[in-house]
Symmetry: D2
Subunit: 374 residues, 4 copies
């Protein structure tokens, strides 16, 4: 019998949103097996959660240190191949570091760390360790996002001139938005930014992923609309790129009534594209000399980049979980082959932290433009 | 450790579309484990496919009779709890019958059988056997379809007057549409109807599921547009219901350019609803005295029926696989509790076959309306 | 100074919907001048309405006979060139007949008459009179409808196989829907049909206009949902065409919550098109081998047929009035040149009446299919 | 006979886009009569154009000075009531000034002038003259924009927090975009800004019109993408308001493939609204505790503000011309009653020029934020 890749998880205990998504995504193709995890800091609760997940309760650990110790001690045919880190931001760095040092592959939720210093340390460690590392930027896993990247790489849009990205949610419009919300605006758990760390980095990452162009300068205004909140719950950023292209990121957690409204519009001198996360099967292509085209996942005219990241025929909607699952599938392949795959890397995590530090500094300062170190 | 429900599969070998969907759906929640199956009639291929699926190759059987025999002989803690049947239509009846008689629960793809006679025999057998039986009509698993049903049951639409259902695909517009297409228009494999058996029954089933109103009379025209095809590749049906409501089903496999365009519009005397499979997260509610409402999966104002069949927050698209997975989740619950769940039953399969026989007879005959026996 | 075409109007008094639309449409291009009319049967009210419309009150007549007499007596440089008839259905025939006989050109709202006998009489009269006659089927005036017709004529869709047309409104869902509604379901004023005469004929006309294919056989069910109503407020019709194409018309005045939901879908063996009146600037083109195309009014890739019937650049929405205005513009051109233009004719009015008589007879009878005489 | 309001026009000669729109809008309701104009600087061409427009060729003037002189000399029952100015920007000020001084009412296309100094001079002159003055910001004439303003004024959105406005066109993406385009990026004709003067001011005006909140501070980046162009063809602006609200304007003439994509999103702490010019009949209302609502022009639940600016029932699309026509209708009413109406005023024109000067200064300078004088 072929063996499945074995996964452990840190985070994703009862009630956690993103941990549950990671598990569904990891299961989807049947090639990854969740075998253990830290599902809470209370030993009994972590064991109970493990059991609930059909695992051996003994492998529901109370902290990542115990998990590492126990897993390392297991026979080769039982211990995990990699850990998936789904905790609040502040644990990303220490947990990733510890697992890398213990010789495990690591898949980690974004943002990579609490600072660019931490990010750089991890980057060096990944290089040194020779382990596979994946930064989970799930939107890069959507088939039509991959297709968008392919079109730009092939020159279909010509020279990119302008980028307009909107990521608006309304869930933090009122003061008490629940446990999932609380840690995201708590500097101790989330870091130097709230909204921008949580969703602004998705915008930054997706722009750079799709266009292949690093953001070089930013002019930003971060805002906090709900009184008493310690971090930004909203932000707008003007962008400059090397080739003279400009852009705007509009991000908000207080955009009342918005669910997860992530819209990417990219204009080149030949054509433009639009993708919306809430309608992810369509990629709109516009130009000045032809009718609007809607590329659809699974349909003729849509290319290889989407096809490789797709499971169903056109018209049978795929969604959010499949986006994660595509990243997991590529990561499992990496583990099997020992070769890094086409998913966001620790270096993308460094870029993300530098972007974040630049916009926070710019928003708090008086200079109009802040350069981003690379 | 809690044990998972164990599933075997008949059908779904290499290249099969719907079998792969069933497997992903069964995996999604981590409570069902695929352990064996018949994945082809050639013993070597079935074994190879089993291995490919991370199963014990010895449990990749060459026919369902061997599978039943072998599984029955296994210890209680290894043998399957139920079989999932994903074959072409003609095997549904014999395979379901054999597994029921062998004491296994059965989940079967639609349509239930090749005739109402077969369907009635299965209905009797299910009753006699005491086993759980689920007819996979996957569209009944979509959260917003469930929500639509709830709204009608609560009287929000008032008395239903008119139903307009469209299910159009273009995949059979040209003569040679591949292996997946071939069996669907071969009377030996598909039965008395092609298009209407394959997708018209989805329309009929969804209308009856959502409204709770059986179709009583039909006037139909089935057509075959591609020369040489032995069964219908298109059909239109006028409908009558007990309460005087009327309806139309427009179904086609030759609707060039359509992917899987399944649209349900139901008009009551108070309000109306619209749901589209290719945009499944929205349920449009219209009335004569208020603005249009869009109920969204996961959002306030959408009720319990959707919430219970949902895994993600609003704005994080769910799709086709989740619809199947909802049915699997309910069926697993049935197996654990011994109680039938809220999914299509063998009796719905009888209704579906009678509908099919009525429209074929009507289309071939001269009478304007044909009554459907119940 | 160039002179404008002079128009008189019968119908369209205070509160009338369609008469006001005709006036706005006739004004839009500044080449037609309304100079007189019958705006009510009470002489004082008709005069008052004329004055309200900035006309000479003396040319607000109390009946069409007086109008004809008075206008004939005016000098050549004052009297009307044509009459626009915007009355309830029953007056279409006598008014059109009288004006034709008096030597005036006629533009008449649809449906042409109360019966095919009347329609045939008018057809003969138009031919004999040598006068210009336009049947106002306003949807044929929309640019993207014209474009749809052009695409089909050019063979872009291939052989037409299936037509699916939906025209649903909710305005008559309740018993008392006002004055505009009342005459439309009164046999004395509307004729043998309510809903189908009012909107079903739009569907029939648009299908024939766009495809160029006459409907040859129908199987219909007309229904009356609101108790006490003397005519149909709903209907569904199966269609057959000479080349074996099939179709469905779904029309309703009791489709709660619908405003004016007129949707045209036409499937050929090469490609398909979709147009929606409530989103009239787009024409969706789908095929089995290319991405969806959205042809937009005014944009590259959209052809001559739309351009000729358009006044604004793309992205600057045109709508309902412009559709009428296109017909008026062509009719004014006809009057100037003496040549019939590319608008619906009295012969289209005959076809419309025969369609209506066929579906009423079929719905009331027991035969499955009824042929339409041509 | 009632008399119509008499209009003269400066600008709008052969081939001009916006002048033709003004004429159609002025005609629509039949209460305004175009009687004369300057339709070109060549006397013969202006006369010919007048004749083409069914006017007395003698009233096709060659310059506005002659027009003023001639019209002043006409009898009271012939001379114009007001002038409509549809020229390139640089003539707005001198022409408006001259007509005001000559005692005529003035309707002027935006932007009001070439500088705030000119704008202030006009403002003083309007006050002194006692004449009616309307600044044509046509988007304020759309029914659902008026409805948006009403909802905010009624507090339905709560406190406004964030505004996201996008106005993107692609028509100037390539160097030679025709005559209509040329003057808009020529500083002599257009002023200190190209894209932002042409469409950025629409965004600024609509934000202030709908929210009632003046923009207080801006941080901007204007860009010129097409080499050799003297003015901006693109711009992004961050906004601050008195109450702490923030905003973004994204405007571009080089957004390849966009037609006239003007999108307004306004987020309050209770609810949010979205309006799109290319789909102008819908107003989306979102909140955190209820389903999405689509308010539709003409439908129950949509209020007085839209109804007063609407001519057709719901579902019968109105568009761009009707927006202009609503402003004309209000302006005609003003002329009849001598009372200023609910349309943009000369003071709005001052605000617009100050906004423009602020963003140009900010974009060229190094300070992060520039205050806007009021």
């Amino acid at each position: 019998m072929k063996r499945k890749i074995r996964m452990g998880m840190v985070g994703g205990g009862p009630g956690a949103f993103i941990g549950a998504v990671h598990r569904m995504a990891a299961r989807l193709d049947g090639e990854i097996e969740l075998v253990c995890g830290v599902f809470g800091r209370d030993p009994a609760k972590s064991r109970a959660c493990a059991e609930e997940l059909y695992l051996d309760p003994a492998r529901g650990y109370a902290d990542y240190q115990s998990m590492i110790k126990a897993e390392k001690a297991l026979p080769e045919d039982q211990k995990i191949d990699f850990v998936s880190i789904c905790t609040p931001n502040r644990f990303h760095f220490p947990v990733a570091k510890a697992f890398l040092e213990a010789g495990f592959h690591v898949l980690c939720e974004k943002p990579l760390a609490m600072s660019s210093a931490e990010a750089l340390e991890l980057e060096a460690l990944v290089k040194k360790s020779g382990k596979m590392f994946c930064l989970m930027h799930n939107y890069t896993g959507f088939p039509m996002v991959r297709q968008a990247r392919q079109l730009i790489a092939e020159g279909k849009l010509g020279t990119i001139r302008k980028v307009n990205v909107e990521y608006s949610l309304g869930w933090l419009a009122a003061p008490n938005a629940g446990k999932q919300a609380a840690w995201r605006v708590d500097p101790k758990q989330a870091g130097i930014s709230g909204c921008m760390a949580d969703i602004g980095t998705h915008a930054q990452n997706l722009i750079e992923f799709v266009t292949g162009m690093p953001i070089r300068e930013v002019s930003a205004e971060l805002a906090t609309f709900v009184p008493g909140r310690a971090l930004d719950d909203d932000g707008s950023v003007l962008l400059r790129f090397d080739n003279g292209a400009r852009g705007v990121i509009f991000a908000s957690d207080v955009a009342t009534g918005e669910e997860n409204n992530f819209i990417l519009k990219i204009y080149g001198d030949k054509a433009a594209l639009e993708w919306q996360e809430q309608d992810p099967e369509n990629l709109f292509i516009r130009s000045n000399d032809a009718p609007i085209q809607i590329l659809r996942r699974g349909w003729p005219g849509t290319g290889e980049a989407a096809a490789k990241n797709s499971r169903l025929p056109a018209g049978h909607p795929e969604g959010f979980i499949e986006g994660f699952a595509n990243i997991y599938r590529m990561f499992a392949e990496s583990i099997r082959t020992g070769k890094a795959g086409d998913y966001p890397s620790v270096t993308d995590g460094v870029a993300e932290m530098r972007f974040l530090e630049a916009i926070v500094a710019n928003s708090n300062g008086t200079e109009k433009w802040t350069k981003i170190t690379r």
